[in-house]
Each structure stands twice: as structure tokens, then as C-alpha cells.
Symmetry: C2
Subunit: 261 residues, 2 copies
């Protein structure tokens, strides 16, 4: 089945997840469709988190926020956020306690689901315009780093930004900024170009999340705000309870990337 899943529609991929038949990474699946980060937390913390997203739109670009208790987002036809993601992480008091493929058993009527944009959308646009992405060529997860860039805090939500890094040929950097700048709902233009130390990153070969990739002599390291930020901030803020997607195992929506320009 995994050989043909490349050609499945978003609804078919979600059905496989729901039935327990797929629990893998979603990179490259449902080509052209928006994939998204997921954050689910109790209504008591929802105002703080929504405010955090409003104040930090680059790392936390909201695609959709559901009413308390709702799990069928309008960005999916007949979707169920409790089962349609290949993998979930459950955090209690800021500590990862469970990794599950289905969270129906944990569902509560006061849970609020936040769906956030993900860089897969702008990666498609970069590649379509001829800008190569090493981690995709090497079938790796993108390299992600904790930084010293403080997010704007909101209530109990406090923490620093996580960034993703892609090596870009110096001659392509300006164009990469322009292309990704067209996608503010999926992190938008880079937050930094050139000096990892300025972000507090001591060693590019040791990412905090994902896989390291090499940087060639004619390339600059280009850093984008990363959708892992809300997860990291939820940990740091020791939120009593939250559920997120498992890194790389995204919600596949019915939205098209082009709708996001």
C-alpha cells in the first residue's frame, strides 16, 4: 500500500489514518494540498494560546480554530481530528507522556483544536521555481533549532522561537525570500539569513529537532519560523494538558497550496 499512497487523495490518507492502516510521515503525500500542524488544549488555556498565535503569526500562522469540543474542521471534508493524523503526542504538565495513533479515548468536550500552517506549502513553491531543498533530496526531515529569539508572551504562554534551516545558494536567496514571502499563512519570509550565532545556534550540525544537512561553500543558511514553536512553548510553559501531531506526521487537509498565496 505504501507505494501507492503517494497518489492518494487527502480524504483517502485521512481514512487510512483513521482505520489504523497508516502511521507514517506525510511529507510528499497529497501533492499540492496544505498540510498542517495541530495543537489541542483545554478551553481554560485556549485564550492564552490564541493570543499567543495572534502575537506571533510567523511561527504560529493560524489556518483554523475550532469551537470547544469540535473535532471536524472545515479544512477537511468529514475529517476527525481525533484520528485522522498519523501520530499524536500527548503532553501533561509540559512532559511528553504518550505517543498515540488515535486520541479518541482522551477526547473531552472542553478541548479546543488549533490548526496551523506548515512549511511544506512553501517548500512546494520553492521547488516548483527551481530552488533545490537538500533535506528533501536526501529524504531527511528538515533541520530545526531552538533560538534565543523570544516570542511575544501571552498569559502563561512564554518561550523562544524554533526555526527551520534550509541551505540556499547565495544566488537564489533573494528569490527564496520573495517566494516564501507570498505565503504569510505558512510562516512567510525568513526570520534570518546568514549568521546562526545571531540566533543563538552554536552548531548547525546539531539540530534540536529533525536531521542535519551539510552547507556548501556557495550557500547561505536561511532560517524560517517553524511550526514546532507552539509545541516547544507549550512544553516550556508547562501547560497542564495538550495534544499535538507527532513531528512530520501532519494533518493532510483538502485546502490547496495555491489558496494560501
Amino acid at each position: 500500500m505504501n507505494s501507492s499512497i503517494q497518489h492518494y487523495t487527502p480524504a483517502e490518507i485521512r481514512a487510512l489514518c483513521r482505520n489504523g492502516a497508516f502511521s507514517g510521515q506525510t511529507a510528499g503525500l497529497a501533492d499540492g494540498h496544505v498540510q498542517a500542524n495541530l495543537m489541542i488544549l483545554p478551553a481554560a488555556d485556549a485564550f492564552d494560546f490564541l493570543l499567543f498565535c495572534q502575537r506571533n503569526p510567523k511561527p504560529c500562522p493560524l489556518v483554523e480554530v475550532l469551537e470547544p469540543g469540535c473535532f471536524s474542521p472545515s479544512c477537511t471534508q468529514d475529517g476527525d481530528l481525533r484520528s485522522d493524523v498519523p501520530g499524536y503526542c500527548v503532553y501533561r504538565s509540559g512532559v511528553l507522556t504518550e505517543q498515540l495513533e488515535d486520541v479518541r479515548a482522551l477526547w473531552r468536550d472542553d478541548l479546543v483544536s488549533f490548526i496551523l500552517g506548515c512549511s511544506f506549502s512553501f517548500e512546494n513553491a520553492l521547488m516548483r521555481e527551481g530552488i533545490a531543498l537538500r533535506h528533501i533530496e536526501q529524504r531527511k526531515n528538515v533541520a530545526m533549532y531552538k533560538t534565543i529569539l523570544a516570542c511575544h508572551s501571552a498569559g502563561r504562554m512564554k518561550g523562544n522561537m524554533v526555526v527551520s534551516m534550509r541551505p540556499i545558494k547565495a544566488t537564489d536567496v533573494a528569490r527564496a525570500v520573495q517566494i516564501t514571502g507570498r505565503y504569510p499563512r505558512v510562516h512567510g519570509a525568513p526570520v534570518h539569513i546568514g549568521f546562526p550565532q545571531r540566533l543563538g545556534i552554536a552548531d548547525l550540525s546539531k539540530p534540536d529537532f529533525g536531521d542535519a544537512v551539510s552547507l556548501m561553500d556557495d550557500e547561505l543558511p536561511v532560517f524560517w519560523a517553524c511550526g514546532v514553536t507552539p509545541q516547544y512553548v507549550a512544553e516550556l510553559s508547562k501547560l497542564p494538558f495538550c495534544i499535538t501531531h507527532s513531528p512530520g506526521k501532519m494533518l493532510v487537509t483538502d485546502l490547496k497550496n495555491e489558496e494560501f498565496v
Copy 2:
């Protein structure tokens, strides 16, 4: 004093309001600075309202949201939202019960303040580029209309969009769209051009708020999402309690219009 107030800084205007020395309309004051709509409501309704703004960014473009109990926004130096607006409206269960020049006596630790963009910013830009605005030439308030365009509801917040209408010469309409489209944080591009009936507006000469202006033969009526929408929706939704600015009596911030492009 009113003859010289035109040249006062935002901080000076806010100080006059705070001392009870000014309670008038703010159109044309503090040239080049962002003026803003204000909505203050209890924390119990704040998530619904924030979600409503997130789902309806054209009528409800957020500039800043404060933590519960806070009244000093970062868009003003030493500002106090309880006294620095020339006039306030207090609504109880959706009914306008008081019009005040100071709401310090009503302040509660659970009140959350929302500061929203206002069309004054893009009006400046239009005029700077040579597009005349009749209501300003005639020193009137802009004409505003309730429409049949439903906003996306959020929790208990439900209602239709209010729009403002400006007659624009047909030859200038495309440019007016481009200019205002550069200001998504202050309502952005028009929501409709040409047919008031399509919005459910039977008679342009009878606006629901503000003053009517005439439409010339070579002009089209151009409609923008309006910052009165949240007030109207709060009324319709019968929110237990909220405080807003009085129409036309805006919060004058220290932000520059150019920062909003």
C-alpha cells in the same frame, strides 16, 4: 484650544482626553498616526471575540490584544485605555446603556481590551495619492450600512458585516483597490464594488451609521469592511457587558500609518 489641537501629538491628545478637556471626533487629528477601534469585554467572552476577529480579519483587523485587567497598550506610550479615548459606549445585554468620557469607575480585573484597525489609515493613503473622499471634503462622518453578508460566527458571537461606502470615480477604482489592499491591518481591499443591492442595502441615502453623501454619475459606490462590525455583532449577540469607543471618537495611537503597510 480646538483650533490648535490639529497639531497636537498623539500623547497630547490622549492627555487632553484623560483630563476631560477633549471629547470630540478624532478624524484629522495626529496626522499620519494610526487611530483605532476599541472593544473591551470580560475574559469569559474574550476567547469567542478573539476567535471572531481571527475568522473575520477584514472587519476586525487586530492591532493589539491586552492581557485581562491590563489597560496600558504597547501602541501608546503611557496610555490608559480607560480614559484616553474621547468617548465610550457601554452596552449591557446588547443594549447601549451609558455614554461616558471615562470608564475608570467601571474597570474590572477581568476585562480584556481589543484594539482594532480603522479606515482612517487607508483614507490618508488614498488622499495622498490624489483620490478625493467626499465625506472628508464635506466634513461628514463616512456612510456605514448593515449588510446581508454574514460574518463567520465564533461561539456566541454572530452577526452580519457592517460596511463603509465611499464614492470613487470609475477611473480611480482599480487604483483605490490597489492602495487599500496594501493595508490588510486596516480593513484592506474593498469587499464589494458597484451594487448596493447585492449587500442588501436598499437605499444609499439612508445609511445605518454616519452621514449620507451623494454619488455622482461618473462614480461607483465602493464598500469596505467596517470597524463598527464588532460593535454591531456585540449588540446582536447580546453580550452581557462590553465597552467600546464612541463612533468617530477613536483611540489615537503612537503607531505610524506607514508601519501598517
